[in-house]
């Protein structure tokens, strides 16, 4: 049984360092083979999870939430007040979003989300996090030099705009509500959703273009 012994696990990692193959594909294959042999996982279910998170569960959902907030003031109010209930209206409540918070960009405020301790991410509305979000370079600097980080993403934040960095240290997860771009008054929800980039919902993009960019 489990005894929650940190030293034992640290020792296991030292042994795994020696015994596991170096190649990542072989390591994961070895894990799947053992778990299937022992009757712990079904490979077809793994296929289904891969498929689900390749397209259906991903940033298109987040973009839909944002576009709906832009077009329906009542929905936006519910989203800011109780985000899990609001996204559940769309069927998007799921993995890691039961304690979702929505933080809104304004002319005076820009929000940026990070997880410095691991890589917490609102999976059921944004899908799999981009590689940079999980990398040491972003995790280390987002809290210390957010303006420099944003500059690397091509986003310049004027001095008079306040930058708020949200470090996901608990089970709360954050979705940035970007500003609706000017010149989109005649667009419907579908068209608006096409303007919302994944990065804008994390905070590494700010001024969305009226030229459809899809989900980057």
């Amino acid at each position: 049984m489990r005894d929650f012994d940190s030293r034992k696990v640290a020792d296991i990692h030292v042994q795994l360092h020696s015994h596991l193959p170096s190649d990542s594909a072989l390591r994961v294959k070895a894990l799947e083979t053992l778990l299937v042999d022992k009757g712990l996982v079904n490979p077809e279910t793994i296929d289904a999870w891969v498929e689900a998170y390749s397209d259906e569960i991903g940033p298109k959902r987040g973009a839909r939430i944002v576009a709906k907030a832009w077009t329906e003031p009542q929905f936006k109010q519910r989203l800011i007040r109780d985000a899990p209930a609001a996204i559940d209206e769309l069927g998007y409540l799921g993995k890691a979003t039961a304690h979702l918070k929505v933080v809104e960009n304004t002319n005076d405020v820009h929000n940026l989300v990070v997880c410095t301790l691991c890589s917490c991410y609102p999976f059921s509305i944004l899908g799999i996090a981009p590689a940079w979000y999980k990398a040491a370079a972003y995790r280390s600097r987002a809290v210390r030099d957010p303006r420099g980080v944003l500059d690397e993403f091509g986003v310049n934040i004027p001095d008079e705009v306040e930058v708020r960095v949200w470090d996901s240290t608990a089970e709360l997860r954050y979705l940035v509500l970007p500003q609706r771009p000017p010149g989109t008054e005649d667009m419907n929800e579908d068209e608006l959703a096409g303007l919302v980039t994944r990065n804008s919902m994390i905070g590494t993009d700010r001024d969305l273009s009226v030229k459809p960019g899809g989900n980057d």
Binding site: M1, V14, L20, S24, K95, E171
Partner: protein, 223 residues
């Protein structure tokens, strides 16, 4: 623990590779590991114990190996620690007869079933407790100067610092104990810190960093 995972504010990791093509998985094995992690369960496991097992990966592996590779290693470690897989089986690459066997494979799930299953993964971590919250919104608080030798969610860069309570979220499972298999709820707050309180070089007086912190990480900032 003061481990390699606690990256906030650390320097020397270079520029960010901002290019991303939007694909969820760039190698088959990344998707396989994602799927395995969604199915994998061992008795008594908590999200905090799993995170702690990932933090315990040797620093050279933690920093150098790809992200989902570190998930696979974490899964290996939790299965071995729970006694469901042995190191001998890892070395041999196959299950040994007589070692723990959990019978027939679980029934396969379809795409629709998995999408539905994802909804059931909306796990909540809050609960009502009798104790009143010790701090009020707007109150100045000071974070503990020390971490926990085991798992903790108070990063090094925010220890011994003054902040302001921005929001209260009710009581949530306390990770330091959850990583030891003990479920206790504590009041959770979002606390905001000025950049200048955290970093000597901070120059914009408006910028703030918000962290979600449990009550026992905090004390009254005036006393």
């Amino acid at each position: 623990m003061d481990g390699i995972h606690d990256l906030g504010g650390k320097e020397g990791y270079g520029p960010i590779d901002v290019d991303d093509d939007g694909r969820s998985f760039h190698h088959d094995w990344e998707g396989r590991e994602w799927g395995i992690a969604q199915c994998a369960r061992t008795p008594g496991i908590t999200i905090d114990w799993w995170r702690h097992c990932r933090e315990l990966i040797m620093p050279e592996d933690y920093l150098a190996r790809p992200y989902f590779d570190s998930w696979a290693q974490t899964d290996f470690s939790t299965y071995i620690e729970a006694g469901w897989i042995t190191m001998e089986e890892v070395i041999e690459g196959s299950a040994r007869p007589g070692n723990p066997d959990h019978g027939d494979s679980p029934a396969p799930m379809s795409l629709q079933q998995v999408v539905q299953e994802d909804r059931s993964h909306a796990f909540r971590f809050d609960a009502s407790i009798e104790a009143e919250p010790a701090f009020n919104i707007g109150q100045c608080v000071r974070t503990s100067g020390y971490g926990n030798v085991g798992h903790t969610r108070l990063p090094q860069y925010a220890r011994g610092r003054h902040g302001v309570v921005h929001a209260w979220h009710g009581a949530h499972v306390f990770p330091d104990l959850s990583a030891q298999g003990v479920e206790v709820h504590q009041h959770l707050y979002s606390v905001s810190f000025t950049a200048a309180e955290l970093w000597p070089e901070a120059r914009n007086g408006k910028d703030r960093v918000y962290l979600d912190l449990w009550e026992s990480y905090l004390s009254d900032g005036q006393s």
